[in-house]
């Protein structure tokens, strides 16, 4: 105990420092210091990532070679079906434009202004799934902004913003909640990340079947409506259950995201009100 007592003053100093940094973090005093640190260390992190990412990719792919082959076969089939759908949808879109022009109707697009950003690193544990991107407040990014994959699927939203860096909470983070609905049957629910980076549609009541597409709903004011999130991978529970248990499969492989798009034209209502998303 005498030996431990020699650490007492040091433990006290550590506790005081922890309290001070937490206090400084809560009141935004730590933000500028962290911004400078992130800017200074960005080349180091980029360099390390460039060296180790190919090695990690090689190791990961070597272990998954059979599942990748199967996935590739399924993707080829799906791609063919999607190409056919695309042709039909393009024709329908042209027809819709003609009708809109004839009826003098103008509709707002859901594209918005998107800012491309590179993923610097990803912090992924069974409870957290956070990306760091190389864009920040100097690029017009604000907390709460929506982040999409390069193909336009919902990835998450911005939580912390520094001058040249932002942190993005992915939809698979167990703290993430997104108000959503199924595209086909308009069943509403909350897409929430679960432990182990799983994704589920909570509080869903109604008809949901495997393969249904889940998209964002504008109800919460935090996301624009109609952004694709995931496909329903399994449904359990029957009419006697209050809510269905719906598991989802994200449309994008989150671990492979290198470039993301920040929807800068959509500012969530919570950000406008000055609250944390």
């Amino acid at each position: 105990m005498v030996i431990l007592s020699r650490y007492t003053w040091w433990l006290g100093a550590m506790a005081a420092l922890a309290f001070l940094t937490t206090f400084a973090g809560q009141f935004g005093i730590l933000g500028p210091v962290q911004g400078i640190y992130l800017r200074a260390t960005e080349p180091v992190e980029n360099g390390l990532g460039a060296v180790f990412r190919p090695i990690a990719g090689l190791l990961s792919n070597a272990g998954d070679i059979n599942s990748l082959r199967n996935e590739n076969r399924e993707l080829r089939l799906e791609n063919e079906a999607l190409q056919n759908d695309l042709v039909a949808l393009t024709r329908e879109a042209e027809r819709a434009k003609e009708l809109e022009a004839a009826l003098n109707i103008t509709t707002a697009g859901t594209e918005g202004t998107r800012l491309a950003a590179n993923v610097v690193h990803r912090e992924s544990t069974p409870f957290t799934d956070v990306l760091s991107i190389d864009r920040g407040s100097s690029d017009g990014i604000q907390a709460g902004m929506v982040v999409l994959s390069a193909q336009g699927s919902l990835l998450g939203s911005v939580t912390d913003v520094f001058s040249d860096r932002s942190f993005v909470r992915l939809i698979t983070d167990s703290r993430s909640r997104v108000v959503a609905e199924t595209l086909e049957t308009h069943v509403e629910g909350v897409v929430k990340g679960a432990a182990n980076r799983k994704l589920e549609l909570d509080l869903a009541q109604g008809e949901v079947v495997v393969g249904n597409m889940v998209v964002t709903s504008a109800l919460s004011g935090r996301f624009p409506a109609g952004l694709p999130i995931a496909k329903v991978s399994s449904v359990s529970g029957g009419p006697q259950d209050l809510h269905l248990s719906v598991m989802l499969e994200p449309l994008v492989r989150l671990s492979g995201a290198r470039t993301v798009l920040v929807l800068t034209s959509f500012v969530p209502e919570t950000s406008l009100a000055g609250a944390t998303p």
């Binding site: 030996i3 431990l4 506790a15 922890a18 992130l38 260390t41 390390l48 990532g49 167990s174």
Partner: protein, 172 residues
């Protein structure tokens, strides 16, 4: 010069922790390079150097990632006192088993703390995931690394330093 090398090493380890360690997960868990670096510093340079490295690493890892620097300080603060306590235990244990004991309990403390913080901030209350996906694989990872550090010091002929402080004080 020594402080400059120390500072660069701290920044490098923090960058490795946030940008490289997540690329090599075992069942969702990653190695705690901060813990390994603090123990490695204590073995090679003694506890006083580790007392400086601990807050620097905690702050650097906290600021480089999305974890709270305050929480990282609390997580790492336990390492050195625990090491001193284990060293003082009246059991006939060798240097390496004592080091393993410290790595396991300090790693457990840090991971449980971060897991509870994630749960408290709105995450799922998933004790099973915390145990089987975070704690066990993470601790196994740490043990492999600490064994490698210990073996490297032995191979280099470095005699491991004691964790016990001979007197209170700050600077080495």
């Amino acid at each position: 010069m020594m402080y400059a090398v120390g500072l660069i090493s701290v920044v490098l380890i923090a960058s490795l922790q946030v940008s490289v360690a997540p690329l090599f997960p075992i069942s969702g868990a990653e190695a705690d390079l901060g813990l390994i670096a603090i123990l490695g510093t204590a073995i090679i340079a003694g506890p006083r150097a580790a007392m400086l490295v601990t807050p620097a690493l905690a702050l650097a890892i906290g600021m480089a990632g999305s974890r709270s620097p305050g929480l990282m300080l609390v997580a790492y603060a336990a390492i050195l006192p625990l090491a001193a306590f284990v060293e003082d235990l009246p059991y006939p244990l060798g240097r390496f088993p004592r080091l393993v004991f410290v790595a396991v309990f300090a790693g457990m403390w840090g991971r449980v703390l971060l897991g509870i913080a994630a749960m408290a901030s709105g995450g799922d209350f998933a004790v099973r995931a915390l145990l089987f996906q975070v704690l066990l694989p993470g601790l196994a990872f740490d043990l492999v690394l600490i064994a490698a550090v210990f073996a490297a010091t032995q191979a280099a002929g470095i005699r491991p330093r004691r964790f016990t402080l001979q007197r209170a004080g700050w600077l080495p």
